[in-house]
């Protein structure tokens, strides 16, 4: 692949981001401008910005990678990411805007009149934000590594620097412009190459992707195994090896591997003849790459359970993502917040029609990516693989630009909200200078963790953040908005039991502590039990502490639900628009 075009494309995206951010800087003057764009962002612009922010590395690269490896069952990821906005719309959107709070912590404090709940909510905002930032930075590292061969920490550092710079300089207003631009860039970057790829695929005789049998290599293929893998064979496999298999060193020798599990050392290159069925990666209990395995593997009840775990986490988790919630405060009023969400659903849904195409094409033309554990790169390598030449290079560059737009936009949204919470609740004073310091802190921590943490597919890693958010902020928001008897002790119990147990379960699974079989499935997909646990503990503890119901509850609920022309918080003419 020609690196020049890709590097030029990534540079252009970074420059455009900084430039549009600088434009925003000129109009961003007051503190209110800085945080929520003074609440004057219209639905069209705001919806593009929300979608731009939401479509992360997991959407741009991760879905195609998962589909390539595990087939169409992985399409529940984009479906869940979209339907999460519907649940957010019907339960939360307008009241959240009318609450008048800047962050989820502000909402918790305003609703429950309790600084303790606020501090706990802030902890969860920062935790979920960092969990979500981590895969963005790792995805950026992977992309830059594939495009230019740079070490994998360079991409993450680049994204962290650009994001810290734009967020600290311009705040929310510039971010709104940047992200609206990045939505359209991402859609174009995925749509245009997809049309060319489909044409080439059709010209190739429209081969079908098969997901129920091992993928078959179409041409002579050399696979460079970067990290040590275990492969499982059902039939003997003849392959030319340079490197080490099962602790035996080879230099370009053709060997026949017997059926069973084999250990391929990192750095080994395997050369397959055309028409050979590709060996599958063997998942082990501690191997995080086996994470979404139950979703696709048809083992008795595991698949169904895992699917519902994913559905609950994504449907209910979207509303509690810090960077999603903060965007609703930029709508001028509750009605605009609803209409904005409707437009977002259209924009996000249109985008998600594309990644599955890349996954299916990747299964046909680049199945060996599954073996090397870099399936997330499928989107990036396909133009070179299928079309090649100058056109392939140009389309690859366009995709690289889109991928970087994805990292930049989601990372800036997350940084914005994490930094907002850090400024208000951790650092001593609330000035703009402290916000800039908080921005640095918000990106530095996940960047540092990313260097030491093991890699998991980005879509899976993002799934963790969704599960924690669904078990903590979903009960808090839903009960806070619709239930009069919620008390501060109830909220604390729900956040700790629901969110805390989900967090502990996914962390233990990632650390390889979960035993195999059902315990592993239960812990890898905690939402099925942790969301009810969160709701139940919040309700029961609230009912047990009826005297702690905040005295201002009726007034707050009235403000959350009454249209602005009645509460008078927005001029009547404005609210009716």
């Amino acid at each position: 692949m020609n690196q020049t075009y890709a590097v030029a494309a990534v540079t252009a995206v970074v420059l455009a981001t900084v430039l549009i951010g600088a434009l925003g800087l000129r109009v961003s003057r007051t503190t209110s401008d800085f945080y929520v764009a003074s609440r004057t962002v219209r639905p069209g612009l705001n919806a593009a910005a929300i979608s731009g922010e939401y479509l992360s590395a997991a959407s741009f690269l991760g879905i195609a990678g998962l589909v390539l490896v595990q087939g169409p069952a992985m399409l529940w990821y984009p479906v869940g990411y979209t339907a999460g906005y519907l649940v957010l719309l019907v339960l939360v959107a307008a009241p959240l805007r009318r609450s008048g709070a800047y962050t989820l912590s502000d909402f918790a404090e305003a609703r429950l009149e309790s600084p303790q709940v606020r501090r706990l909510a802030s902890l969860f905002v920062v935790g979920i934000g960092w969990l979500y930032l981590l895969p963005q930075l790792q995805g950026a590292g992977l992309t830059l590594e594939i495009l230019t061969g740079a070490p994998d920490w360079v991409g993450g550092l680049l994204v962290a620097l650009v994001v810290t710079g734009t967020v600290a300089a311009g705040g929310m207003r510039s971010i709104t412009f940047v992200q609206a631009f990045q939505y359209w860039l991402k859609l174009t970057a995925l749509l245009v190459p997809a049309l060319f790829l489909l044409a080439a695929w059709y010209g190739d005789g429209a081969p079908r992707a098969r997901f129920d049998a091992p993928a078959v290599l179409r041409g002579h293929t050399v696979v460079e195994v970067a990290d040590t893998v275990r492969i499982g064979l059902d039939d003997p496999l003849t392959v030319t090896v340079t490197g080490s298999v099962d602790s035996v060193a080879y230099t370009g020798r053709t060997v026949t591997l017997a059926p069973g599990t084999h250990h391929v050392l990192g750095g080994t290159s395997l050369s397959f003849a055309p028409g050979v069925p590709l060996p599958e990666r063997a998942a082990t209990g501690a191997d995080p790459l086996g994470w979404s395995q139950p979703l696709a593997g048809g083992r008795d009840g595991h698949q169904l359970y895992a699917t519902y775990g994913l559905i609950l986490a994504t449907f209910l988790g979207t509303m509690g993502l810090p960077h999603v919630a903060v965007r609703f405060y930029t709508s001028p009023h509750g009605r605009a917040a609803r209409r904005t969400t409707l437009v977002v659903l259209g924009l996000v849904g249109a985008f998600y029609l594309l990644p599955p195409l890349y996954g299916a094409l990747g299964r046909i033309y680049a199945p060996e990516l599954a073996l090397t554990g870099s399936a997330d790169a499928a989107v990036l390598v396909l133009p070179d693989r299928i079309i090649g030449g100058l056109l392939g290079d140009l389309l690859g560059a366009l995709l690289a630009a889109g991928a970087f737009a994805a990292f930049l936009s989601t990372a800036s949204g997350l940084t914005m909200s994490v930094a907002g919470v850090l400024t208000q609740d951790v650092l001593p004073s609330r000035g703009v200078r402290h916000f800039r310091l908080a921005t640095l802190l918000a990106t530095a921590v996940p960047l540092a963790v990313g260097v030491v943490a093991s890699k998991v597919p980005v879509a899976d890693a993002v799934g963790l953040a969704f599960a924690v958010s669904a078990s903590s902020f979903c009960p808090l928001l839903v009960l806070g908005i619709w239930w009069r008897r919620l008390t501060p002790p109830g909220a604390v119990a729900g956040l700790l039991l629901g969110g805390g147990s989900a967090l502990a379960a996914v962390m233990a699974t990632r650390a390889g502590l979960a035993p195999g079989g059902w315990p592993h499935t239960l812990m890898a997909w905690p939402a099925v039990w942790s969301v009810p646990l969160g709701f139940l503990s919040m309700v029961l503890v609230s009912l047990a502490t009826p005297r702690r119901i905040p005295p201002g509850t009726p007034a707050i609920l009235a403000r959350l639900h009454l249209p602005e022309e009645i509460t008078g918080t927005v001029p009547a003419q404005e609210a009716r628009r």
Partner: protein, 128 residues
């Protein structure tokens, strides 16, 4: 639009009474309206009657939300069960890769219109 007002009036009345006679001990507003200040000041001053108005709006909005969620659970949430049956792979692709999105958007569109109508009716009720 001259015809805009007449069709709106009757609809306001219907929803007003439906909300006022909903479940729970709700005082009939019909008899009290002449002796009390307008509903809007009841809400502003947070009287019991004011809270009743807010509750009626919350109930109608919650009903709309739960209807939308029910539709989502029925049309999308049941898919894993359906697709667990031996289904051709093409069906999985068609349902999850494309079919779900228009359904989700249609539910959202219905909800937004319904929620806005609930608010319009409510505003009409308290501002008369």
């Amino acid at each position: 639009m001259p015809e805009h007002h007449p069709p709106r009036r009757p609809r306001r009345e219907t929803v007003t009474y439906a909300s006022a006679h909903g479940p729970g001990a709700v005082p009939p507003p019909g008899g009290r309206r002449p002796v009390h200040p307008p509903a809007r000041s009841e809400i502003d001053e947070q009287t019991t009657l004011g809270h009743t108005y807010v509750r009626s709006l919350m109930r109608s909005q919650l009903r709309a939300a739960l209807t939308a969620l029910g539709a989502l659970a029925l049309l999308v949430g049941s898919l894993p069960l359906l697709l667990a049956l031996p289904a051709p792979e093409a069906l999985v692709w068609a349902a999850l890769g494309f079919g779900v999105y228009p359904v989700v958007w249609a539910i959202a569109h219905w909800y937004v219109r319904r929620a806005e109508r609930n608010e319009r009716d409510f505003t009409g009720l308290v501002e008369r």
